[in-house]
Amino acid sequence: MTQLPGLLDTEAIRKDFPILDRQVHDGRKLVYLDNAATSQKPRQVLDALSEYYERYNANVHRGVHVLAEEATALYEGARDKVAEFINAPSRDEVIFTKNASESLNLVANMLGWADEPYRVDRETEIVITEMEHHSNIVPWQLLAQRTGAKLKWFGLTDDGRLDLSNIDEVITEKTKIVSFVLVSNILGTVNPVEAIVRRAQEVGALVCIDASQAAPHMPLDVQALQADFVAFTGHKMCGPTGIGVLWGRQELLEDLPPFLGGGEMIETVSMHSSTYAPAPHKFEAGTPPIAQAVGLGAAIDYLNSLGMDKILAHEQAITEYAVRRLTEVPDLRIIGPATAEERGAAISFTLGDIHPHDVGQVLDEQGIAVRVGHHCARPVCLRYGIPATTRASFYLYSTPAEIDALVEGLEHVRNFFG
């Protein structure tokens, strides 16, 4: 077996993930390389979910009975864990949503309904990039349509990085918000936060960072990022589906208007008017995803028990190995940075003129799960003139042997359609 420096003890870790033992297609061992779409869940998280429902389940807040108090303590305890995980200055800056997409829509809608100085309107500009996930494109397109603001974006270089050469023309005095992805889910690119934040601060624009592909894979420090908002999603970081996070700077959360209205987010309601609870509750209408927050808390405990820096080192080693092995495959073209520097653990590629659907299908027949398509980042495919890519993406349980299986699988694909 290939040994690389920096690897985690995947043999032990994989025992925590029941699904990794699964066999598919009549006895083939599952090789799960679709981690950028969603991660698998360790037993520790599943146990936390079951325990929550079997012992503590109740609606949170406002309850004076034991279960309600315990459930509230668990739910709010999960908020504490998230706050610590991202080094938030205050736990009250952590808003639970249903996924990263809701988090990003929440920011767009806060700004759409805000008063000055935050208000986005026809005099102002919104900046994104060409490598965003649709969830960080469409909310801003909708906001631009509905407010008359102008949507601008950074283009991409041929090697899959942001083209910041015209940064001063893209981000201008009119820019109200710059929203961009920290790690691209399709290209794997890790973006240069500092340069963008510096320019945004120069012109007084807010900065929103989509950290959906960063939070699961590397230490995340919202203070070091110097952003105003950071969004991510639980299901990609060992947590359950149905839970996302928006972190926002306290004074912004105080100033900005609510988005969804309902129970939990109010201070006092009469038929004529209502006042709102302080953040984070102001932005959490209705019964929150309680069990899912608790599950996310357990996922964070799990990640911390391994250490985010160790997880990063593991994935860097795996990614480096994968880049090396994949470049050996004839006709394979990596879409995105062709080296392992400043890139995350998702690698997109094309294989000659074999359509990614066919690549994925034939890999699947061998038990290898990859994702094919535009990966919710169709502008990237348009930019590089391809209909789709095949994407292999790794996580803390990925092994060199799985990379080897992928490379062999790709050889088989080439022969099959050759």
Partner: protein, 150 residues
């Protein structure tokens, strides 16, 4: 699912390329970016040509080739029957085992029976057939010719 017949049609497509036609449609499968531009030519109700151009996976490419082979020269009513039979087969989730009667209608297209087990690929197999249906409606004056496949 990759029957020999499918691979053959994929590697050696029939009637590929855009030629003169009475109507043209452009369909996309948004999930994977498969695209087809397709033209139909009629002489009365006889299909004299189905020409197409596009990009896509082996399934969508082979399916277009099979369509061309099957439908060109047919009467519209026969072609519609073939299209409906193919649709039924593709929506069967692998539950239809094509019998002789079906094979007689579908010829090479029965090779797609296995694809129907793969929901993500059914749309690929149907792309050209939906495009043909729309183009035909347009050429012969039917309704909603502009509708894209979902």
């Amino acid at each position: 699912m990759y029957q020999e017949v499918i691979l053959d049609h994929y590697k050696n497509p029939h009637g590929r390329g855009l030629r003169d036609g009475d109507a043209e449609v452009h369909h996309v499968n948004p999930t994977c970016g498969d695209e087809i531009t397709l033209r139909v030519k009629y002489d009365g109700t006889t299909i004299t040509d189905v020409s197409y151009e596009g990009q896509g996976c082996s399934i969508s490419q082979a399916s277009a080739s099979v369509l061309n082979e099957l439908l060109v020269g047919k009467e519209l009513s026969d072609a519609q029957k073939i299209q409906e039979t193919f649709l039924e087969l593709m929506q069967s989730k692998g539950r239809i085992e094509p019998d002789d009667a079906m094979e007689e209608v579908l010829e090479d297209a029965v090779a797609f029976a296995g694809v129907s087990k793969y929901p993500a690929r059914v749309k690929c197999a149907l792309l050209s057939w939906m495009a043909w249906k729309d183009a035909t409606a347009q050429a012969l004056g039917g309704a909603d010719a502009e509708r894209k496949t979902a």
